[in-house]
Structure formats: structure tokens, C-alpha cells
Symmetry: D2
Subunit: 300 residues, 4 copies
């Protein structure tokens, strides 16, 4: 890896500040890199549906308490004479539920998406800017799987060796697939196998395996619109920054789909011998919401 030096703190800060997309789609834009998903892009994505296989990228709705799930979701059922209804309650952010983050979800001292001031835009009533309802028309685009364990010849990514940006390039090359503007990348890190091998681990207690800050330029260089991942930011980061990969939300306007279940898609791609597909999901349109549980579909 001598040819791939780890970026310095100054370099990472430069990824975030010098390359950010603020103003790129107008000062009032609230859709970010999702603007890159044009109608033509959606038609292109639909053209990738060939075998018709549908693969869910969602983990179970997390109702079961435990070390991995310190704030389990609520599921309660009411049985009636001729039917049954139920109640779902969830704090979906965190390290368990599959969900999409809205552009308002995170920020740093420089501000939130498009340079807005979170003190003005965010309150306990929700977000006035960059809320999840901005993406209510859904996100349907070309998806590309990047299988890092396959690249490494291992079952899962480890804490000692986070996923680096050059590996995303290498995985694409090894798989014979390119990444272009408006694409969703689905980065497989082997989470379910990692968890099975490390039952004591929970994302709520660092350290965690995941993507290193060096992956940020990959997103920006290729104009990626969506990052779907099973493992998230490698943590803790050595730069002392509040956010590394999650900064792609407020700096680049990228939609992050956290805690995806990627293993079945990795297996399907390996079986079909192709790594591109149609990816589609749509958040619940919660006015002012900071994200949404989603069940993204990969259609091969």
C-alpha cells in the first residue's frame, strides 16, 4: 500500500471544504446530489433490469432488544374481531435500522448543507431546510455494487484495515464496472459476517470497521448521488473531525443509506456476474423529518 498514502488531516479538511457542492444547484437547493438523477438517468437505470431478480437491502425492523440494539423499535399489535392493526415506533438513526439520512441530519462548524446555519434551520419541530420530504418523489438510479471482501479475499472488513478510496477504485476495476454521475454505490463490507464473528461489537461503542475518510474523493470525483453501505464510517477517525464519511451529506449533498443489508445483493451479483442494477427506494414523506426507514430494492 506504499503507493496509497493515507491522507493528512489537511487533505481531509480540503476534501470537505474545497470540494463541497454548496451553491452548485442554487443557493436554495435542498435536494443536493439527487439533482444528478435526471429522468434520463432513471430510464437508463430501468434498462438495467434484465433477469428481473429483486433483492431487498433492508435489515429487519429492529424490535429485538440487545447489545446491538440499545434502543429497540416499538411494535405493538391490537387484535380485533375481523382484523388486526399495529403500532410502529422507531428512532431509526443509529447503527441498526436501514434508513436514509436527509441532508439536514448532520453538520459541522462550517454549517449544514448549502452553508445554512443549523441554529436557524433546525428545531425540535424538525428541519425547515433539507428535510426528508425534499426527496418524497423517491430515488431511482443506476446502482453499482463494490464488493470489498471479494477484492481482499476475506469475509469482512476489519477495524485494523478500514476501506480506503483506492479500494473502491480497485473493486470497480476488478469487477469491470464504472461509476458515473448520479449513480448509487453500494459498498459491501461484510457486516453480517463481521457481526457473527464479533458478537460483542456494536456500532454504538467504537472502534468500528468501515469506510475511511479517503473514500470521500471517490464520491466527489465520480459525482455519486447515493452511498448505500452496511458498515459505516470507520470509527473513531484519527482526524478528530466530528464527521468523516457522513460529511458527504452536508458537503456534497449525497444521500446516505445506513445499515443496509448488502450480503444478499453481493451474492446475487456474484451469481449473475454483473455489478450494476436499478436501485430504487422512497422515504416516508415526513414534513421536517431528518431521514426515514427505507427498504431499498436492487432490481437486476
Amino acid at each position: 500500500m506504499a503507493e496509497h498514502p493515507t491522507p493528512t488531516r489537511d487533505e481531509v479538511v480540503a476534501y470537505l471544504r474545497e470540494r463541497r457542492n454548496w451553491g452548485r444547484w442554487g443557493a436554495d437547493d435542498q435536494r443536493g446530489a439527487i439533482n444528478l438523477i435526471t429522468p434520463e438517468k432513471r430510464v437508463e437505470a430501468a434498462g438495467l433490469v434484465r433477469s428481473g431478480r429483486s433483492v431487498s437491502l433492508s435489515r429487519d425492523f429492529p424490535t429485538i432488544p440487545g447489545r446491538h440494539n440499545p434502543m429497540p423499535a416499538q411494535h405493538f399489535v391490537r387484535v380485533m374481531e375481523n382484523g388486526v392493526v399495529d403500532y410502529y415506533g422507531i428512532v431509526y438513526h443509529g447503527y441498526v435500522a436501514t434508513h436514509v439520512d436527509a441532508l439536514c441530519h448532520v453538520w459541522d462548524g462550517e454549517g449544514m448543507w448549502n452553508g445554512r446555519d443549523p441554529a436557524k434551520e433546525i428545531s425540535s419541530n424538525g428541519a425547515r431546510f433539507g428535510a426528508i420530504d425534499q426527496w418524497r418523489d423517491g430515488i431511482t438510479t443506476r446502482g453499482v455494487l463494490l464488493d470489498i471482501p471479494k477484492l481482499r479475499g476475506e469475509d469482512f472488513v476489519t477495524i485494523e484495515r478500514p476501506i480506503h478510496g483506492w479500494e473502491l477504485e480497485a473493486a470497480a476495476k476488478a469487477q469491470g464496472v464504472s461509476v458515473g454521475a448520479g449513480d448509487a454505490i453500494v459498498v459491501y463490507g461484510g457486516r453480517e459476517k463481521w457481526q457473527a464473528a464479533h458478537p460483542e461489537w456494536s456500532g454504538y461503542r467504537p472502534p468500528s470497521p468501515g469506510l475511511h475518510a479517503s473514500c470521500l474523493p471517490f464520491l466527489r470525483d465520480h459525482d455519486v448521488s447515493v452511498l448505500v453501505w452496511d458498515l459505516m464510517d470507520a470509527a473513531p477517525n484519527e482526524y478528530g473531525l466530528p464527521w468523516t464519511m457522513h460529511a458527504a451529506i452536508f458537503c456534497y449533498g449525497v444521500a446516505l443509506v445506513d445499515n443496509a443489508l448488502v450480503q444478499p445483493l453481493a451474492e446475487a451479483c456474484a451469481e449473475e456476474g454483473r455489478y450494476e442494477f436499478m436501485l430504487t427506494f422512497a422515504p416516508m414523506p415526513v414534513i421536517g423529518g431528518t431521514g426515514s426507514p427505507v427498504n431499498p430494492l436492487a432490481l437486476l
Copy 2:
């Protein structure tokens, strides 16, 4: 309408008992008419994405209390130093939230889907049969809009004149579109305009405009897999049955998407002059859940 007699009670009961799909996909089948959506069907659906326009069929997440929303959803926000998270809680069944019903959601004295006994399959822990997680791989198929107000030359359907089965046929014919096995039909009744004109109305207090039991054979004859609608069962029904159109869930195995927002799609179809499209949505995989809020997308 002399040529279209309203079915008798015996005829409606026959729709439900003599034509039901129990056993059609095996005694243990939990996926119902979704089985008709084959990989080939999904490829066909993807082929309908031509202009690339994406239209959401979901109403707002219903947090605002009021006559139309007697059990509003919970949305609470927690602001932190560099980010914001929130809590969503909802009883999504009812007449407000856009949601899909699982096959376990309703039944009558004959039993639930595939003839199972709800007393054995349903408890306050959830459903052991026909739960929403059975459809976790999502539902992606050809969608067909049937625009009843347009057929009638009116703004919305009224209580006095529910939507009848022959009108579904007539709408398809007028629009030059056919309905086939595995399709999703999206029946537009003009709900948002109806509500604007009838601010006192709420689906929780009958009577309600909607689909008459005479629409049941349409679903069964055409082997429809999914019914998406903005207005639901015309209520009360004159037959004294616990369920009329909702019986399509447990008799035919059809997926119902209740309280859809159909007006924007009706406008888009009229603009583009075509009434077929790709329809896609995926429920939250709640183990044992009776349905899920969804945001279905129509891709034209």
C-alpha cells in the same frame, strides 16, 4: 346503467367464496397474488420507464391532528451538537396514512388468507402467517391507472355513486389500456378534491365514497396483484358483510395500498397520454407486522 345490475348479496358472497385463491400457490403460501409478479413481469415493468418521470403515491406522514386524523402519528426531534435525530411512531392502518396491508390484516368468519384460522395465527405478538415480512423483497410490477373522475367527467366520486366494476372496465377501455396478470391497478377516485369539497368528512365516520363490491370480479378476472386506491371501500356496504373490497386481501391474496395520493399520477398520465408505468414499493420488513407505511413510486 340498466345493463349493469348491482350484484345481489348471494353474488357478492360467491365472489368471495367460490372464486377465492386459497391453495392456488400451495397450502402454506404466504405471498398470495404477489406470486403472479414473476421476474419476467418485473422486466416488462422496467420496460415501461420511458420519460423517466417519477411520481410519488404517498400522502404526508400524518402528524397533524384533526378531524381527518383522529390518531395522529408521533414525530419528535432531538437536536444534538452536530446533528439531529427523530422519532416516528404511527398506527398506519386507517384512513390517513399511505400504507400496504399484509395478507394477515383482515379476515371474516371463513378464515384468513389460505383458510388459516386467525385465532391460531394472530396474537398480540403479531402474525405468524401472512405477515408483511413475506413481501420484504418488494413489489415491482406494471401499474395501470384507472381514472374514474375522468371517465365520469366529474371531479370526484360521490357517496351516492360508488365505483362499480363495469366502470373499471370502461375506464381501461376509454384509456386504451388493458389489465393483465400480476398488474397493479391504481384506481383514482379524486380523494383530495373530495376532501377539499367535504371538509367535515372523515373515513372514520361512514358513509364514504369508494369502490363497490362489484369491483371484486375485476380483480379476480384479470388476476390483479395489487390494488392502489385513494378512496377505499364504499361504506357502509349494503350487504352487511364485514369486508367487501378489503376481502380481496384474504380471498384473492391481493396487496392493497390504502390512502394513496393518486391525483399527481392522474395528472402525469393525462399529460403523457399513457396509463401504464412501472410501479414499485417495498414495505419495512417488520417480522409479524400487519402492513407498512409505504411511498409507492410510479415511474413513467
Copy 3:
């Protein structure tokens, strides 16, 4: 009523600003007028338990939706093999649930209790000052019922004629009871009868019958610690103030118990011919909470 002029806006503002208790128990005090309830006061209160009758002052936990209850509480049940558990969820503030307000619950442009700045003390994580956990040791004191319908010879208080301060004095006198430092007053307005006669009414839509701002000096003059009431602030107030009676929270440090069920106590007092008793309740100790559902008991 010529001898009882309604106070001017300047007079009401003076009630709030000139007579406030800020600093009275120290600049950092978070217990307010509850400081007046000394151990001796609790012993005195216990001495009032003579017949041993126990009367609840709590309305039902408000799970039933409806005009009067636009945000119903959640109650869901889970049945197991040898037992049953349930989930309670509630936004208890408002006009339905019986609850106590913490000192942090409301404020005006002058600040919150003890002159603190709500922008500094309140966040979506809760209150750092004046939260309900400050009263975790409970509130047990002498209670005095003031029965206004009885005084007026009517069933309930009306919108046209709010309860005025001189009526509180008159009721005490008519009932032969005095009010002293540290006491809880329980003001009966006939709410349940009012609601039965006005099914369209909901406190969420003014106007509402209740206590006029002229009652503020009564609280302050007598050093009342707790105000328990079934009808709340007469609304709207003619002064354009954000809060009138509720200002007793942040100006005087008084504990307000909103939406109490007072009718059974009014009947019990009339039967026993006495209007003083032991009043006791204790909030759930929610760290940072803004109040708590409570079931106050009057022990006669």
C-alpha cells in the same frame, strides 16, 4: 359586580412583574412555591385525614380519539403465556390528561422561572433548570376546595363569565375555610358538566371558560403552592398576554395541576361538610421532563 372592577392590562402586568417570586428562595432555586410546603406543613396536612375517604382527582388516561382528544395517548398490550404487559405513550400537556406542569414548562419575554433564559436552559434534550425531577419527593400539603358553581348556584362556569379572584375569596368565605401559605387550592369549575352540555367544545379551540387573570393576586397574596383546576385559563385573554394564569408557574413558582377531575371531590366535600383535606401526588421523576401525568389524591 360594580365593586369588583376587572384589572387593566397594566395591573395584570404588575401582578406578574412586580410581585414575582424570583430570588425569594435563592437565585438557583428550582422548586419555587413548593418550598413553602415544609415538613410541619405535611404533618398539618396529615392531621386533616379524618374520615379516611380517598378521592382521585385524575381523569382517565386519554386513549380514546375524538374532538376533545386530538392527540390521543397510546395504549398497546402484549399478551404472553403467563402474563400481560403494555405500552403507554402520551403527550400529556394540553387539555385532556390530568398532569402537573414543571416550572420549566412555560415562560414569556421576561424569562422563565427565577429569571433564567429559556434559550439556555431548554433544548430538545429537555430542561436543565426547573425540570419535573426537582419535585421527585412529591407534593403533600393541605388542600382546600373552592367550589365556584356552588357559589354561583349554577352547574358550571361559562365562557361569558370567567372565574374572578374575588370569587375565590367569596367561595372560601362561604365555605368557612381559609387559605394559607403552602396550601393547594382545588378550584372547581364544573368541567365535566360543562363538557356534557357543550359536546362541541374542546380546550384546543378557544374560547374556553376558566380562571381570569384577576385570580393571580389570590395565589400570590395567600402564598398558594399548588393550583389544581378542572377548567384552566379563561381563553382567549383580553390582554394579549401569552399566559395569564399559567404565568403563575414562572412568576410565582406555583405547581399547576391541569385537567383535574374535581367533581367527585366537590361532591365528597359537600357530603362531609368540610373543604379542607390532605392532598398528595408525586410526578414520575423524568430527568429534564416538563411535567408528568399524575393522579392526585384528596384524603378527607
Copy 4:
């Protein structure tokens, strides 16, 4: 301890079946041993308030996730212009929240309280018999602390040595206090110190220190109405019974207050040199509810 043989399984079964209070207050009684708390008893209890000290017996509302709290309560805050409100949600049963169990909460193969059939009385809509609203008028009676660590000269009770019935007698004798009909006993086991010394322990994972089945006759012999405890049933029990001490609910009609915070009361009693006091609490009147979070007060 040779003189105190541990009861055999047959003896424990006899405690439950031969001595149960079914029918004692009528076949339809839903209040159980709370019937023993007469108005006279409440007057007697009030007479015990001498120093006027008020001690809360409630632990914090359990919002903080962790090993000890696998299903944390929900607390969310909404800040407005001149005030702040919040949402509380909780599954209060379990080993964390201080709460009272209703008579409907548990049962065994013999039935629930008064011999009723849980299959008929309990559903996902709640309990039709023995629900918490039956005690809406509150529970105010004489309380007696029994300090087991003090008796043993240790800081807390251990798993190896559960609390036995003869120790309850011995503690009362050592403290110079008797226990009579209608009393509440508050059994101190040293939970907070136990937890501090055993950070890995959680009641959700047996074994647990607590009260042995041999304590059942103490409750029945003395006609105790309420059992308040910090540690609960010693677990697992060696008899293979679904419930041992918790069986006091459905066999004797006793109100159990689980997870009480007893240490401050133990310290107060030691300071004042007396072990009897007024105990008072009142559940939230949830129609059909299986219990309620409570903050019991001991007034010395």
C-alpha cells in the same frame, strides 16, 4: 438456619392453592387485598406522619439505554415560542421502572385473580378484569420497612442467599415493629449497592438476588396488602413454577410495586429510628391497563 427448612415444592404449591384469597371479597371482586385498606386504615396511616419527612420510592424514569435497560423509555421534547412540551413512552413492566402491577398482570395454569380465565379476560385491547383502573382511588396505608441488609450486617442481598420468610419476621422483630392487615411492607434488599457492585447484572438475565418463595406465607399470614421491593423474585426458582412471589398478585390479590428505590427510605428510617410511616401512591387510571409507573411516597 437448621431451624428454617426451605419449603418443598408441594409446600409452595400449597401456599398458592390452599391459601389463596379467591372469593374472599366476592366472586366479582377486582380490588383484592386492597380491600383491607379501609378508611380507618387510612386515618391510622395519616397518624404516622410525625416528622413530615417525605421520601420518594421511585427510580428515575428509565430513558438511558444500556445493559440494565434493554428497552429504554422514550422521552422527546418539543420547544415552542413560550413553552415546552414532551412525550413519554414506556413499557414499564420489567426490571427497571418503578411501577405497580395490576391484578391482571400475571397468572398460572390455575387462572388469574379470583379464578378468572385469562383467555376470556385479557386481549390485545387490555384487561376486562383486574385492570389498574380498579385502583384509581389510590393506595394509602401504613407502610413498614423491613431492612434485610441491616439484619444480615451486609450491604446487599446475594444470589446465593435469597431473602426468606423467616427473615422478614426476624427483621420486623429486630426493628421492633409489627405487620398487620392492610399494611404495605417495603422490603429493602440493597439493590442500588448490589448493582454498583455487579455492573454486569441485569434482572433480564437470571440469576437474580431477591425474595424466596418462602416469603409467601408472610404476606398471607399478616394479610399484607402491598409489597414494595427493590429486588424481586429470587431467580431462577428451584421449583419450576412460572411465578413464585409474583403469584401473590393472582393468589392473594396483593399489589406489587416493583423496582422501588428503597435505599433512601432505609436511611431515613435508620436516622429517625422508626420503621413505620404513611405510604401513598396512585396509578394512572388507564382503562384496561396492566399496571402503572408510580412514584410512591413514604411520609414519616
